[in-house]
């Protein structure tokens, strides 16, 4: 199965890869030469760890640090607001949108 293009790594030093299309939990992807089954949905452009990352490590995308890990992150895990924070100004999101209309 040709799945080596489902994830893009923008720079060789990066510790994240990006989804080149929206992927569903259960799909197989290739990370660091290993076949990994996605444990969660990964939407277009979202980030996934391509190695084990320790709390406090810089997350590097396109060769540039984009913030620090707030907890240990395993290879194949989604990287977003829950485990990555800015080294400058905190990120604001609308907190209750998941509950609206339910």
């Amino acid at each position: 199965m040709e799945n080596s293009k489902l994830l893009i790594q923008l720079d060789e030093v990066d510790n994240v890869m990006l989804a080149s299309r929206s992927l569903n939990a259960g799909e197989m992807v290739c990370i660091a030469g290993r076949q990994i089954q996605l444990s969660q949905d990964l939407r277009l452009g979202f980030k996934i760890a391509n190695r084990d990352i320790s709390k406090g490590d810089k997350i590097v995308k396109c060769g540039v640090p984009i913030g620090s890990a707030t907890c240990d992150i395993s290879l194949g895990e989604l990287i977003h607001l829950h485990n990555l924070e800015s080294d400058y100004v905190p990120t604001y999101t609308i907190q209750n949108q998941d509950q609206y209309g339910k």
Partner: protein
């Protein structure tokens, strides 16, 4: 990417425009409705409304209004005043008159109220529009253009496809000796060293560093970065990650200068627009939305605005056509009518960065030649101008 020419509008002050707009400008919010009604009588997009809503004087707003009312794409200006606001209507009218453009001041309180002001304003616009049909035409090429770039409604695709493609367009424009302007310093946070390294002079490098420190400090005091919940929904986690995308639209050229809103570049090259006010925060967020930034890019003379979006922005502008470059193939499929260029094709593997850069350049030339952009065809004309305070630019900022 060969050199192409088209026919533009020659103004008496020597500037060359790609549209022939009559502006109806309110000088306080109280005159806004009258302006909207005046413009509503004209179905085509050549009559547009801009203005400043505040009743108290502000030198930034004054400077931006002067630059917009004498913009190369503008042929004539009707200034609509309630009558008691602080805006220096005579100073503004003098600047417009000295530029050789027809200008009229309409004071609602003097002319006898809403209805009479609307009738009188429509008559003036109608007459001026007829006169502007005789505006002399002039050959224009890419070197005559000032192109601004903004990213809005960004997501994780913006920095992979749309912004780097615009970076290549900017490299080409700078080679042609055109002016390319990128913004916004609040979205360059994390890239201070990269920007300074690209400065043409050590003096400019120092100014770029100071301007980035100011942006980081300003947004820290505001407690909120230039980051919207939609950015996070689109996969961006931090301001640095958003900056990475925003920075990539600047291309690889050396940086020629650092502008403040209303500074007009006098020679070709790549410029950064500093949108963050000087001094202690006084009037709130530097730019409350994308249209506030578009207004400032226009005030620096931008003929056309390149607008890169991942989530799907729909906005336009009253003076400078907005070319919408959609970075996200899923968004493009959903909102194609609002978009001019599908940069998402880079991600879906159908085209390269160079293919999309060539397509954007083609869109610039066609737009400059008179073809409507998607937002123009849909009637978008959003405009925002708010209070700000700036000190004059330092000596290292401009060549």
């Amino acid at each position: 990417m060969e050199s192409r020419e088209w026919s533009g509008y020659l103004r008496k002050d020597g500037s060359k425009g790609i549209r022939n707009v009559v502006l109806v400008a309110y000088l306080v919010e109280c005159a806004h409705h009258v302006c909207t009604k005046i413009a509503s009588a004209f179905e085509d997009s050549t009559v547009q409304v801009i203005g400043f809503g505040g009743c108290y004087p502000n030198s930034h707003a004054n400077k931006v209004m002067k630059q917009l009312c004498t913009h190369a794409n503008v042929g004539g200006v009707l200034l609509v005043s309630l009558g008691c606001e602080s805006f220096d209507r005579y100073g503004l009218a003098t600047v417009v008159e000295e530029s050789g453009r027809p200008v009229e001041i309409l004071v609602i309180q003097e002319v006898g109220g809403t209805r009479k002001a609307i009738e009188s304003g429509q008559e003036w616009v109608h007459r001026t529009q007829t006169d502007l049909q005789n505006t002399p035409r002039v050959q224009m090429a890419k070197r005559d253009l000032i192109i601004g770039a903004i990213c809005g409604g960004s997501d994780a695709t913006s920095g992979i496809s749309g912004n780097p493609a615009v970076g290549r367009v900017f490299d080409h424009l700078v080679e042609q000796d055109a002016v390319a302007i990128f913004e916004e310093t609040g979205e360059m946070i994390g890239f201070e060293d990269h920007l300074a390294d690209r400065a043409k002079t050590p003096g400019l490098a120092e100014e770029l560093r100071k301007c980035m420190q100011k942006a980081a400090s300003y947004y820290t005091i505001m407690g909120h970065a230039s980051f919207a919940p939609g950015n996070a929904d689109g996969g961006l986690s931090t301001i640095e990650e958003k900056s990475l995308g925003a920075y990539s639209k600047s291309g690889r050229s050396k940086i020629t200068g650092l502008l403040k809103p209303g500074d007009k570049p006098r020679q070709g090259g790549l410029y950064l627009l500093d949108v963050v006010p000087d001094g202690e925060p006084r009037f709130g967020f530097p730019n409350i939305n994308d249209n506030a930034e578009i207004a400032e890019l226009m005030a620096c003379g931008s003929h056309i605005i390149l607008f890169i979006t991942g989530r799907g922005s729909v906005v336009g502008s009253p003076i400078s056509p907005v070319v919408k470059i959609c970075a996200n193939p899923e968004t493009y499929a959903r909102m194609e009518e609002d978009m001019d260029v599908n940069a998402g094709s880079i991600i879906s593997g159908e085209s390269s960065l160079d293919d999309v850069a060539a397509e954007i350049l083609e869109s610039i030339v066609k737009t400059a030649g008179g073809q409507s952009t998607a937002s123009e065809a849909l009637g978008h004309q959003e405009f925002v101008l708010l209070y700000k305070s700036f000190e004059p630019s330092g000596p290292g900022c401009l060549p």
